[in-house]
Symmetry: D3
């Protein structure tokens, strides 16, 4: 059983039920997630051994988060415990033409965001693993975490793990694109596999294209990214959002083979984490040595499916996704 | 007030709320249903005296089921009590392109499925009734229940009750279509009224048709079924399923008059039991001596409406359905 | 900060959750609303000082209602307390093609509906206010409330407040259109601003038009209403209802300038109170001295947005509505 | 199976969960009860055929109430339907030293309280019954219901039914004890069996006693009541209330034999309806021809047990109560 | 109507329902409270005009908190808005011999704890008020809030407001008693009324006593405190905690008159905020010019009662508390 | 980190909330437990590596159970997957003098109860473990499980694991004590550590004692059991049950040293699994080489504490229990 690591923050999500706002309700549903958690949750359901590298506070919230992650199938043996706080976000779900609203607590004070490079024992953390995944959010939160990301990626690469990096740019966490640029370039150089959008290429890498159509921009940028940063796999999606559903299409360039999935149009139950489901699907495709086309088909299907399940973390197994891909829509399985 | 009987199992439905899965939730909503229960629930709302012939365990679950059925308007005086278990199913509701998933407990060990013919006192059970309804699920569950179905139907026919039979084929409960064929033929021979699909004719009865269009297959098969088995009424629906709603169209052949309803396209709240609502509508049409066209119109409307109400058992009365049929969609009734 | 008053009943709404009926559930969600409450709730979120003139029973239900209204941002200092009862309505939410159903308790016996003109101290109630809003429901409930409406409106006009009147005709509360006609004419004569539909003009005012198209009827009637009753602003909407969403378009005639908004098509979470959101939007437009076009754009946007939020009372602030108007649909704000 | 009738109002109970107040919550739990409902609910669980004579509004609330009562095991075939309203009460549960608070809606306007004698067809209603039960609340609500109570009791007595009457005096529903006195005397004269407290004798009947101890007062009054009104059975309880539980002791005089139960001390889950459980126990004792001692033992046990179950209506069967009486406290039955 | 101010932080309480832990649940109940909020909530129910001086973040959490406080009856016009975060605490309720557990988020980063003296406009904030209340928690959180507390108290005293101070020492928020001592002495010097315990005197003030009995220590310290700091009123309680309930006794020294209440023993629903209920009771006693004995009786009754109501903030009115004090325990009020 | 195994069934618990019955509710809370699960849950919180040997159905219920167990901290790598069904029980919680009621589904048909010895690969399952725990329920359910228990215990003993056995006799699962006797004797012979009650000695082992007092019977039997079956540790508790709480006292004989704990009296939140908490405490005592007195003190404290936490499975860690033992009751920890 191959072993996949991810590095990233664990956050508590506190969601107002039934489309009400924080002013209207008295009740919240909560769960624990994070970009790394979500990628590993999907991979765990596909049968991989998964382990999260993170830090949780040494209190009841940290205990609850740890139990939740174990329930998702992740090993929590590489989660440091210490400090007092964890990042949280409140989610007021939108309806139809009304957007969802996310309100964060002070995540920069979290045990994870305050953790220091020297707390992470590379030898122990990386032992026995085949793959390690990072995302752009970790790169953004605090200088010390940024440092840990680069150090872990470099060390992992040195030890022969495959390194994947999901650009996942969050504008509010950076002062400017220019601030982000060197760090993204560093991580793209260290990575073997990356998930990136045409927007990332334009804004973060500050690249230009003559194309105005988003699909063509993707087709333009993906090979350049692969070449520039010596990446074996580059993947991304184009999403369009409408009140009654989303459109999603995936692109994968693998060993020079550039392909795209068919387009999906579908209603959305829970949007958060669906990008991580795509990343997990790509990782699975590479680990299983699927073709470029098989990889993008699976990764997009995993992502579409994740839009229809509750919570941030993908919960569908290989069989469930594959049956859904192969068969037409079935109403009730009994 | 005319009295309608149905024979069938009572099952406990345990539903994960809010589109979550069993892994994600800590809470279930439950109710009690079953094909016979659902048919009678609708007929009870239309003003008929309804009585279920079944068996429930002699414990708290049986008590709770009995109370629930009384709340639906069914007489429970013909429900045997004894044994220990009842059939249950867990429902994880799908969303959009994701299907619902049903997980059964060991229903074959239920008090009903283990009940024996000699426990059922024909004289008492059939006394004072005008109609008795059966469905193909009862025919499938266990050999002893299969025997009871046929014996009850034969005895009811002898005593002058109208016998209806809803084919309602469940592939997982039979080893093969061939195993089912003689039993279905037996029940169709005993019945005066049946609900059947073109798939049932092709697969169970092993009939052939030159038509490839489903509607034309229905129009081809219904008269043949009526003639072959000497049925006064044959009815069925064609359903198509899409993530954003269902399409439904009904067909009724009554005393040689073959008609169909208009097609409906509608979003679905709760799919289970909507076929039973159609069966109940057909029974109402026959008991009220409605025309073939009035019957199919009402039965399909009852079925469409049942897709929009919570739970397996239809809960709308005659007035509610008729107002809905007659008027265009009204938003709030106040 | 300008001060807006409204006169109207506070009602308790008791809603069956999750699309179930009163027979199927054991749980209700409740809140407190009313046409005047809803108009003021929206205006309170836009930054106005709002005060409701009403009467609540001197018991725990009245206490709970008062606390709820304060939570919405209304001043409750002009709410009389006394009597025993309050109006309530039970809401069974429809789904898709199934309509919502509202069942009222005996609201005519409520503390508000039984209140007498002499309980209302004009000097205190109207002090310091710029605007007072009334609606046709108050005109309908009981003779004494009808008398209070007209007396308050006349007194407010005399003191220089702007008077607005939303026709809001409820057929079940009147014996006939003829009974309503003189009272509506009286209120339109006292008002400076009114919200009215083409149906109101045809049925209540008993006016005729050659137009058959609803939009053209609006364009025909609005200027006539403005002239006949000497109203500076006349506004209204045309709504069409379909199972998968509503269509809404607004019309405003302001100082002779007749304009309409664009048409919206949108899915609906909670329909009740969306007309009050439109009224609040019109009042805001007049108080801010917006153009006719700006007024109708804002008022319709506020109304569409209110269809997507839980509860009867609009809860969105100026910034939230304006951002929604200006930007295309955004999925998650984080 | 002997058939027991009761006459009385059906009320909707709306309860704030988890000890919160109406100001603090957004959710209510609801059920339907009433003194007659509660007595019959218990008797239904003991195996009697039970039927309620009442009136419910012809709307969704009436439908929901009827379904609930059927779920309790009552026949609803003698419930008139018509009118618009039903009585309701809001329950804010006390905790420890804090009392529960009940807030009523306008029950005097309910379909039941407004029903007229001529709506009740004696021949149909009383047919086939062995017993009819009344309570003092029905005597109090409105003059027309008062008239129905007396007429039904007289007619029942004439037809040979046993008549029971639970004094159940509610001070807030009467102007004075003096107003109640002639009506209580009338009902005591018509009854064969009554439930009464020493307080009722002192305040309503205006009787005197030299005893100051409540138990001695009971022992003093019960024989006098039996003689004065020619009652074969007179029963009552003495209750004392403390924050951590209640004390209860029962008294029964049957055919001249005066006995009392042992005293119970017990914590209370739901107090409402426990007096009706005692009345039901007494009725069972008389119908089963139990001795005076057996009757009071069972009736008090049924009442104590009803304090420990959720809701107003007793839900325990004979076996459950008898096992509890016979055995010492058992922790879990598995 | 006299106007009472309080200065203090507003916190979000997130409570796991039904005695579960954060690991076991998926749901939280939330509300907003704080020591100042609680004191004003009680006073608001007694009929005073109440206004909180605080700061809330300029986001959806701040909006929700503001709406909640208005629902409690507080004016929120003196609450600054700005910054991003608010203090939160998670509550896992104990049961029987198991203690409740509180886990805080990083409250020191809250908008309130980071607010600066210059943001508070004394002229506006103190205008029209008769009284201002502070508590020891505000003194503890951050140096800037500590500075605001002292400045506000001094300014209020100068303007003739009565100043009250509840010592409310929280060991975890201070490095040592010695660190707290000068600040407590400063506030006691500025205050007219204080709430203090014998433990505060011993540990914070570092006073000595020969008494070992807690009651005698109180009687020893209270006059000394009054003299030393020139306080007109000094009040405190002695609490003892047992699994099945608490014991509470109050002490008030007012204008040299030292009295105590009777002792109460009672089961507890919600402990948090009961000390603030005592403080509010003392303030009421002083504002109403009640005697020392009346004051302590009322304040302790208000505190005991607050242990029996849900939430941190007292919700009982004068009438409710006084009826409870005057009458023996009543079971249901209907 | 020492590794502890347990063998036993995983059951689904479905609990009616808020003291209602299955007839009264529409909602259930569910979790997964079992005697082995509970023992390991406690040990996992104490820091041991824990692994359950069991079998779960290859469906969504099995998935949900597996996720739940991982959340408790158990390794699920030794849980076989296959078959269709799992054991379930419905829990209706008692209140005060009313007992809880448990209703089982057909557990004998569960994947676990139908599993065969040959499915269990001893080499894999027992590898790396220090201890294995069994309980009498596994011995009772089906002949094949009985066989597995004995085979696993024998094999474990052979490989040098410590074997513990909790007698945990369930009368309903055996035909007679005589049927159980040889199997219990077999397991006691194989075990190194056992948990047993004086009732087990009398009824199952058919031993006699002159003592009539339960404590003295324990003191009489424990040494005999130790000698007869060559057990290094024998432990047990005496429990007495009353409506307002339980009494518990523990006994441990370890290496010839017979001691008992102090007696506890405490209110109970959730009784199920508290015996397993005692067993886990004893195992901890032995693994940590605690003295006889320390072991019994800790084991009883763990058991008492488990009565106060929600769910079957102990959730308290070492620190939490030890702090509770050492300190007097603390009300809120903040």
């Amino acid at each position: 059983m191959r072993s996949v690591l991810a590095f990233g923050e664990v956050m508590m999500r506190l969601e107002v039920p039934a489309y009400a706002t924080l002013e209207q309700s008295r009740t919240l549903h909560y769960l624990f997630s994070g970009s790394g958690v979500n990628v590993l949750s999907g991979l765990s359901k596909y049968g991989y051994s998964t382990r999260l590298i993170s830090k949780l506070p040494a209190n009841r919230l940290g205990d609850a988060a740890q139990a939740y992650l174990r329930g998702l199938g992740l090993s929590t043996s590489s989660i440091l415990r210490g400090g007092e706080f964890m990042g949280m976000y409140f989610l007021e779900s939108g309806f139809g033409v009304r957007s969802s609203k996310v309100t964060y607590t002070n995540r920069k004070e979290s045990a994870f965001c305050q953790s220091q490079l020297e707390e992470y024992e590379m030898d122990v953390l990386l032992a026995g693993a085949n793959w390690i995944h990072f995302c752009g959010i970790s790169l953004a939160v605090t200088p010390n975490v940024r440092e840990i990301v680069v150090a872990l990626a470099a060390e992992a690469k040195k030890r022969g793990l495959t390194v994947s990096f999901d650009c996942n740019f969050r504008p509010k966490l950076w002062d400017s694109y220019a601030e982000a640029k060197p760090w993204y370039e560093k991580m793209l150089s260290l990575a073997d596999v990356c998930m990136i959008s045409e927007q990332d290429a334009i804004h973060i890498l500050n690249w230009e294209t003559k194309e105005t159509d988003r699909e063509k921009q993707m087709q333009d940028f993906l090979p350049k990214i692969s070449e520039t940063f010596n990446l074996s796999v580059v993947a991304g999606t184009i999403r369009e959002v409408a009140p009654d559903g989303h459109f999603l299409k995936g692109f994968v360039l693998k060993n020079g083979d550039m392909t795209c999935s068919k387009s999906y149009r579908f209603p959305v139950l829970d949007r958060i984490g669906a990008g991580d489901a795509f990343a997990g699907g790509v990782i699975h495709g590479v680990l299983e040595n699927l073709s470029s086309q098989e990889t993008v088909n699976f990764a997009v299907a995993a992502s579409v499916y994740a839009h229809t399940t509750y919570g941030d973390s993908p919960i569908a197994g290989l069989k469930e996704i594959q049956e859904w891909m192969e068969s037409s829509f079935r109403e009730i399985e009994r």
